[in-house]
Symmetry: C2
Subunit: 164 residues, 2 copies
Amino acid sequence: MADVKSGASPLFLREEELRQCIELLFFAYRDFTAGPDKILKEYNFGRAHHRVIHFVWRNQGISVSELLDILRITKQSLSRVLNALVERGFIEQRPGVTDRRQRLLYLTEKGQALEHKLSEEQRNLVAKAFREAGGEAVAGYRQVLSGLINEEDRETVLKRILGN
Amino acid sequence: MADVKSGASPLFLREEELRQCIELLFFAYRDFTAGPDKILKEYNFGRAHHRVIHFVWRNQGISVSELLDILRITKQSLSRVLNALVERGFIEQRPGVTDRRQRLLYLTEKGQALEHKLSEEQRNLVAKAFREAGGEAVAGYRQVLSGLINEEDRETVLKRILGN
DNA sequence: ATTTTACGTCAGCCATGTTGACTTAAATTT
DNA sequence: AAATTTAAGTCAACATGGCTGACGTAAAAT
């Protein structure tokens, strides 16, 4: 009874540790995403545009449905954002060669330039955190975050991240 | 010249590694936050409510301005969410003892129950990832994520997470 | 007595998510 | 060849949760 509340109880410590790590994820994500927002504003874009730019850059020639699967949003939500990017010349659509129903997505040079500009600060931030933490810590980071990915499609996602 | 594009270039590898870790953070966060959303819907609450519930639970008696500082949103945004939680009896406001302008926030029993319900799946998920990754990996995870927190208030934030 | 601070409200706007219904063209199946 | 399924798009309406700006009140600090 008493040791349920005891600070020395391993069960309590475990839960407290979990909570801390959950908060850590919140704060890290909060500050990590804060960077690009300023730049995006100058272009009258938002985070949604950034996500599209990022994943099209990483997966040149991705189909719309694949992109939808990554972002986990509806095609109606995507279309608003995607249309803006296409109209303003950041993304180009080309019909698929084997399946001409597809409209495969590519970043234009302008789009690539923006991608680079947007990710620069983030890359510097992560690079600094990595340098300070060391290689082993980075390995741990990767392991734990991989474990947080939904088990059902973890393999697929990891494959995509690491480059098929 | 040539080795700028060479796959063996350490500079290229470094950048590629960074990109991978950035994506990892995106996917992990995406799947990590997906859990509570179902439960929240049953209550007609959203993620914003969850965040408030979480941080009030972790900082019983927190003032409104402190909460605003954590969430990094405007008081007008907070008020909508907070008022709903107070009206429906999940959160209680009490005037501060030393400073009676403050309306310190507390979770009611009902609020604590909801917090527990909401975090349960998340805690299980993180616990599983930790078990699979091992203690060293967890230490790395913590180190790297700490490094991603905005340098200016990192100390303050870490203090809050770890419990002053 | 004045100013500042903590908190609150009203009103309106914007970004980005949702559902549902319907279209078109190409690919696939029967 | 005809029917069905699939990839993608569109229109419309709505919800959530951010934002700005203006203004109010009570308590604390100067």
